[in-house]
């Protein structure tokens, strides 16, 4: 195909993005080499921030591992549930349109606002959940038990973002070609075999795309943690992005926060590349 055209297609988007982002990205790198905070300006302190981060800040690394746990768990759950839901409303079902629309709605709520509703929902003395469970003699500490609080965060994230998977996968299912299914039907394959050998492989590319983008988004989890628990009890729900938020906007250690962000960016790019490669190997074998 013609060489010129491809650039005309690619470049407007690419250059707009680069044009808007080039300064901010360079600035973040520069910022990470400074002690910019409430009393210092944009001075130059070399790699001091990075040294502090790698040698003297276990809290960042703890929060990073916690984040990895939270984001992988939520994304896996979202994928499984999202796929199941999409598969269920793909073919004829009663109230199909209603369910399809309903299952989309949670992701349209603004996290900062919706999480306040969740906080009241799980409120241990004024919320409905424990009020109802109380009738059965249960009173789980949704927000104040270090372990359970993590799962509460996961519940809220799954509620909010499963629709994202659901929509991508449903759109994928709806645009699948018909021929493979006809062939499978002729072979008399059972529904389970049909799913394993036809549907799933066909859905693999879009699944990988969806998982990667959700991992990126889930790793930025911040509003949910902030509103639900502020990272507590103790530090049991603190994630990297929330920790960066505390250091950056609460304590105003912007230089240090920049060095954390940049480190985080590098780690995420590497791990996402690896994850994408592994997923491609696993799912796209055939």
């Amino acid at each position: 195909m013609n060489f010129k055209h491809k650039y005309i297609f690619l470049f407007p988007g690419l250059f707009v993005l680069i044009g808007i982002l080039i300064f901010p990205i360079i600035f973040v790198v520069r910022l990470s080499l400074s002690g910019w905070n409430s009393y210092n300006g944009l001075n130059f302190i070399g790699l001091e921030n990075y040294i502090r981060l790698f040698t003297d800040d276990p809290r960042f690394w703890e929060s990073f591992f916690r984040l990895s746990f939270l984001s992988v768990t939520t994304v896996v759950l979202q994928y499984v549930i999202g796929f199941a839901l999409a598969h269920m409303v793909w073919k004829e079902i009663k109230f199909q349109r209603f369910f399809r629309v309903l299952f989309l709605i949670p992701m349209m709520t603004t996290p900062v606002i919706m999480t306040v509703i969740w906080r009241t929902f799980f409120h241990e003395s004024l919320g409905p959940v424990n009020d109802i469970l109380g009738n059965f003699g249960l009173s789980p500490k949704w927000l104040t038990d270090p372990t359970l609080a993590k799962f509460t965060v996961i519940i809220v994230e799954v509620w909010q973002w499963t629709p994202f998977m659901f929509l991508l996968l449903l759109a994928g299912l709806l645009s699948l070609p018909k021929e493979p299914f006809l062939a499978a039907a002729i072979d008399g394959a059972s529904p389970v075999r049909k799913f394993i050998y036809v549907t799933f492989p066909l859905m693999a590319p879009i699944s990988i795309g969806a998982i990667i983008i959700r991992l990126i988004e889930a790793s930025k989890i911040m509003d949910t943690v902030y509103v639900l628990t502020s990272g507590g009890p103790g530090t049991s729900t603190e994630t990297s992005s929330f920790y960066i938020f505390i250091k950056g906007l609460r304590e105003f250690q912007m230089g240090y926060a920049a060095s954390m962000s940049f480190t985080y960016l590098i780690i995420m790019i590497i791990s996402l590349t690896v994850i994408a490669k592994v997923l491609t190997k696993l799912l796209l074998k055939d």
Binding site: S125, S139, G232, G234
Partner: protein
């Protein structure tokens, strides 16, 4: 009846301000001040109406509605009407006020002429704020501000924040329980101790524990011991210091509560603080379910909604309980923060077995005018108008406005009895509680060194780990102290020392 009340209160406040007050042309136009009419002063309605700011715009960033945010907007509307100015107000949640103004400040911009915040922002903000001009320092309104609130608003004698509100932590309790003879008998029978307003944190804990988890007011719901800010956020450290002052602020060892001013060694892990944190960890047993995730909003809702026996921190919970539609109106009382039977002496390194109590003049709402603002005079006129006699008294009477007493003339119980319908006894103990704090010689002021949020955030993290049981109180505070030392080292010891000296001067009553 209402009219008589209104007139009466108008007369009383009139006498109070030494000027005749009555429904006048201003109160016809501005119903907000109908109780008093305009009160003469340097920024009264009368005076401000003489100014002409037509064509000028004043930009304000204030707190969310209603607390402080609503009076800001209301007075902005009035100010615009009186002077012809355009006033734009934006509202920001408390936790974000700092960043919202700090980001433009650091970028060399002044998108707001007036920025609201807390008094402990003063050191980070003062380089971007214009000092209050002499003219406003000499107004009649300013002369009425109490000494400690002038101190909180000033940095080493120069005022950067215009006083519009006064804040402190004090104890709130359910009067219908503590003063109830039957409950007193029952408590005595069960514990062998007197049921009275607690004067030490140990008593506070014992009573709270006793009244935790059963329905003591007969409304069909369980009640609990105490509602406190335990959520790891921007306010948690203040609750911790409120509990620490009793054990760790020793009037016989001047020279620093948070640090030893001479060496800049943190005091925060000395036995006094550890004792307070131990109490606090114990307190997790008598807060409502979910209590260790309570922010200020939850605390207000919990105590104000009648769920707990005690609460301590800012005024809001008490004011919420005293609202007209509150089921526990006039069933709550106030008292100074509890003290302790022993106090740590960091010089001798020993406990002193004598009663100690120290008021914590916690930071509260504060407001400054940006140095880069092009309409500074209008901005100061607005702030002066905000807190003029008539506005201030009307604001005080509206609970959720969040404007609390900070003028000497505010400590008159009649103000609350007449306009707000408080019981005489409650109003008297309220004003006495506040007034006594002003008189105390053992006060603690907020930490206001540069980078203050690095320090307070370390406290929140450490104490929160202790409350969650991740660390013992001693371990948690050792961690905080280590973090503080690292921050001091980063910032520069002499810089922090210089900043901290200003606060210590106030604490040691030398300013």
């Amino acid at each position: 009846m209402k009219i008589i009340k209104t007139c009466l209160s108008a007369m009383i406040s009139g006498i109070l301000i030494f000027s005749p007050a009555y429904a006048d042309k201003w109160s016809d136009q501005f119903p907000h001040i109908k109780a008093t009419g305009d009160i003469p002063g340097d920024c009264s309605y009368e005076e401000i109406s003489k100014k002409n700011y037509k064509g000028k715009t004043l930009k304000i960033n204030t707190h969310a509605v209603p607390v402080i945010g609503q009076p800001t907007a209301l007075h902005a509307e009035q100010f615009a009407k009186l002077t012809g100015a355009t006033v734009d107000v934006t509202h920001t949640p408390a936790g974000d006020l700092y960043a919202k103004a700090m980001v433009p400040f650091k970028a060399g911009q002044a998108p707001y002429d007036i920025v609201f915040g807390f008094s402990n922002f003063i050191n980070d903000w003062r380089q971007y704020l214009a000092p209050v001009p002499k003219k406003y320092m000499n107004t009649k309104e300013m002369k009425d501000v109490t000494k400690s609130h002038v101190g909180v608003s000033s940095w080493d004698g120069t005022m950067y924040q215009y006083p519009v509100d006064g804040d402190r932590h004090y104890l709130k309790y359910r009067k219908d329980v503590i003063d109830n003879p039957e409950m007193q008998k029952k408590y005595k029978a069960d514990t062998g101790k007197e049921l009275k307003v607690p004067t030490t944190w140990k008593e506070y804990g014992e009573m709270a524990k006793y009244f935790n988890g059963w329905d003591w007011d007969g409304d069909g719901e369980k009640e609990y011991g105490s509602a406190e800010v335990m959520k790891k956020d921007d306010l948690m450290f203040a609750a911790f210091f409120s509990r620490s002052v009793a054990y760790a602020k020793n009037p016989r060892t001047p020279g620093g509560f948070f640090f030893d001013l001479e060496t800049m060694k943190p005091n925060v892990n000395n036995p006094g603080f550890v004792e307070a944190l131990t109490d606090w960890v114990e307190a997790t047993k008598y807060v409502p379910p979910g209590g260790i995730n309570f922010g200020l909003g939850d605390e207000i809702g919990s105590f104000g909604g009648g769920q707990t026996l005690f609460s301590f921190s800012w005024d809001d919970a008490f004011i919420a309980a005293m609202q007209d539609d509150s089921p526990i109106k006039n069933k709550v009382g106030t008292a100074p923060l509890p003290g302790a039977d022993k106090v740590w002496n960091r010089v001798t390194g020993k406990w002193e077995n004598q009663y100690n109590q120290a008021p914590y003049i916690v930071w509260g709402w504060a407001v400054g005018v940006a140095k880069k603002s092009k309409v500074q005079e209008m901005a100061f006129d607005y702030l002066c108008f905000f807190s003029n006699g008539a506005n201030h008294q009307a604001d005080l009477a509206i609970g959720n406005f969040g404007v609390n007493p900070f003028k000497n003339s505010d400590f008159d119980p009649n103000l609350y009895i007449d306009t707000m319908g408080w019981d005489k006894e409650i109003a008297e103990s309220y004003t006495k509680t506040l007034k006594d704090m002003e008189k105390s010689k053992n006060r603690v002021f907020p930490l206001r060194v540069r980078g203050v949020f690095e320090f307070t955030s370390a406290v929140a993290t450490g104490t929160s780990k202790a409350l969650a049981g991740q660390l013992s109180p001693q371990e948690a505070l050792d961690e905080v102290a280590k973090e503080w030392e690292a921050i001091v080292k980063r910032v520069g010891k002499s810089a922090v020392q210089e900043d901290y000296a200003v606060g210590v001067k106030m604490e040691d009553n030398k300013l």
